[in-house]
């Protein structure tokens, strides 16, 4: 069942490419300084968080600015991409109800453009990492692998949730609440160490936390990610993608009836 579906997707690769380019154009062409605008939001968040954590809470974290910015950039990628995936099928209903386009094209293009945005977000991130900390190490070469794991994980989540959003109209609201909760149990802007010992299992059970640590280690610690984090992140990404693909495949036969 997966084999022919994959082959069909490959034959539509030019369409996927076109959809990604279109998404990026919409995001960056609208205003002359579109690129700056998208970078401004995480940077302002970073400044605010740095002020709050290091000045008000007097919490000393090494390289907190980079730590926070890496967390915010990652979280924005994950939450925005999952949310766009929820809209990706419904938003193309006109097309999907009329033409035999493989439906997975839309969530895949959404995740790819999200990944490109994450890569663009590395520009200010690396600049601040260089400006505020010790020199970057060779561990940075691991970053593409981290981004790949994040992409696989997010695609799995997107494929799992996109059909649900077609069938149930309140999926978007439910997912946005779940994302908010997920953000607080993921060390996005707080360091893992401040979580009290008896609550730490929550963070440990959260696979997204591992995916985030794998992304953050080369940037903030200038080191390769911890083996346990890497193992949890990789395994959960693969399992989530398999689960998402399975749900997407079995629902996609009937999905058009709900559009």
């Amino acid at each position: 069942m997966i084999g022919p579906a994959l082959r069909e997707l490959v034959s539509y690769r030019d369409l996927i490419h076109e959809l990604v380019v279109r998404a990026l154009k919409v995001r960056y062409r609208r205003s002359a300084i579109g690129f700056l605008w998208t970078m401004l939001h995480p940077l302002i968040m970073m400044l605010a968080l740095t002020a709050v954590f290091s000045q008000i809470f007097r919490f000393q974290v090494e390289h907190y600015a980079v730590y926070a910015l890496a967390g915010i950039s990652f979280w924005q990628f994950f939450s925005q991409t999952v949310t766009s995936c929820l809209h990706s099928l419904r938003g193309n209903a006109g097309l999907l109800t009329k033409l035999p386009v493989p439906k997975a094209v839309f969530p895949i293009a959404t995740v790819l453009s999200g990944l490109l945005n994450l890569v663009f977000a590395l520009v200010p991130l690396l600049a601040i990492a260089v400006a505020t900390g010790p020199p970057l190490s060779g561990a940075l070469a691991f970053l593409p692998v981290s981004i790949l794991i994040a992409g696989v994980f997010t695609l799995g989540a997107g494929l799992l949730l996109a059909p649900l959003a077609v069938i149930f109209s309140d999926t978007v609201e439910v997912v946005s609440i779940l994302l908010t909760l997920l953000m607080y149990v993921t060390p996005v802007f707080y360091p893992r160490a401040i979580v009290p010992e008896h609550f730490r299992w929550i963070v440990r059970l959260n696979p997204l936390a591992a995916v985030l640590e794998v992304f953050r280690a080369p940037l903030v610690d200038r080191a390769l990610p911890a083996t346990t984090d890497l193992a949890i992140a990789t395994a959960s990404a693969v399992i989530l993608l398999a689960l998402g693909s399975w749900v997407f495949t079995i629902t996609s036969r009937r999905l058009v009836l709900y559009l």
Partner: protein
């Protein structure tokens, strides 16, 4: 009946739409109803036990009232939806031209839309590049090709979409109420295109509730009513019974009133 190989073959195809008695478009309501064990569905058979064969190069008209199952039949043939029961064999690439403009983006220019629309139809970038000039010429849009579609008139959008859909000779072309938009010269050009396709072996399905349009372009006609094939045969015969049926229905409504 057909000396040529069948290109489209449907065997006992049925399509069921499951309508929930309680509308449960949300997770919350679904969960509540599920907990109470009160999920009741009403089945609506949009197609029931439809079998038909259409050969290569045939032009077939499909006629019927609104809600008779015409669109469902076309969606099954173009593989947009899978039927609940039955077998569907379609031996070629289907290019549906439905209502014209599916997959067009009003914010993008005509040229960008040519690429997007052709890719949605499964064409590769290389194929489109090779055919692009021809498509632009065929659309007759001239310099407008560089401006966004929101500046186009409905007729211009139709011309663009039709030029893309017909740039490559399709194996199966589905025209769903297409020729009702556009001016006389556009319709004239559409007919020329159709003629050319027919000569090169394209199977054309024309869907309409206007008998005149089908009479002009099809020798065979299928009349669909309440999800079943009411009649399948020579266009003139089928259109005649369809007209008689409609008249009788109109008369009975008048009597009741």
């Amino acid at each position: 009946m057909n000396p040529v190989a069948d290109l489209i073959r449907l065997e006992a195809v049925s399509m069921k739409y499951r309508l929930a008695k309680q509308r449960q478009p949300s997770l919350k309501q679904y969960a509540l109803h599920w907990l109470r064990g009160a999920l009741v569905y009403e089945d609506l058979w949009a197609l029931s036990n439809v079998s038909l064969r259409i050969g290569r190069g045939e032009s077939v008209g499909i006629i019927g009232r609104n809600g008779a199952g015409k669109s469902t039949l076309l969606k099954v043939i173009s593989r947009v939806i899978a039927p609940t029961r039955g077998r569907v064999d379609v031996g070629g690439r289907v290019v549906p031209v439905l209502g014209l403009g599916a997959g067009l983006d009003m914010e993008l220019s005509g040229l960008e839309n040519i690429y997007l629309n052709a890719m949605v139809l499964g064409r590769s970038r290389r194929e489109i590049k090779a055919a692009c000039d021809e498509i632009v010429t065929a659309s007759g849009l001239g310099d407008f090709i560089m401006s966004p579609l929101r500046n186009y008139s409905a007729g211009m959008v139709a011309r663009l979409a039709f030029s893309v859909a017909t740039a490559w000779t399709p194996e199966i072309l589905i025209l769903d109420e297409v020729l009702t938009v556009g001016d006389a010269s556009f319709v004239e050009r559409c007919h020329q295109h159709l003629q050319r396709f027919r000569e090169s072996g394209t199977t054309v399905l024309v869907v309409s509730h206007l008998p005149a349009e089908i009479r002009e372009s099809c020798q065979r006609c299928i009349w669909i009513d309440a999800g079943t094939i009411r009649q399948d045969g020579a266009t003139d015969d089928v259109l005649e019974s369809y007209a008689r049926f409609n008249e009788a229905r109109r008369a009975s409504i008048l009597v009741r009133a």
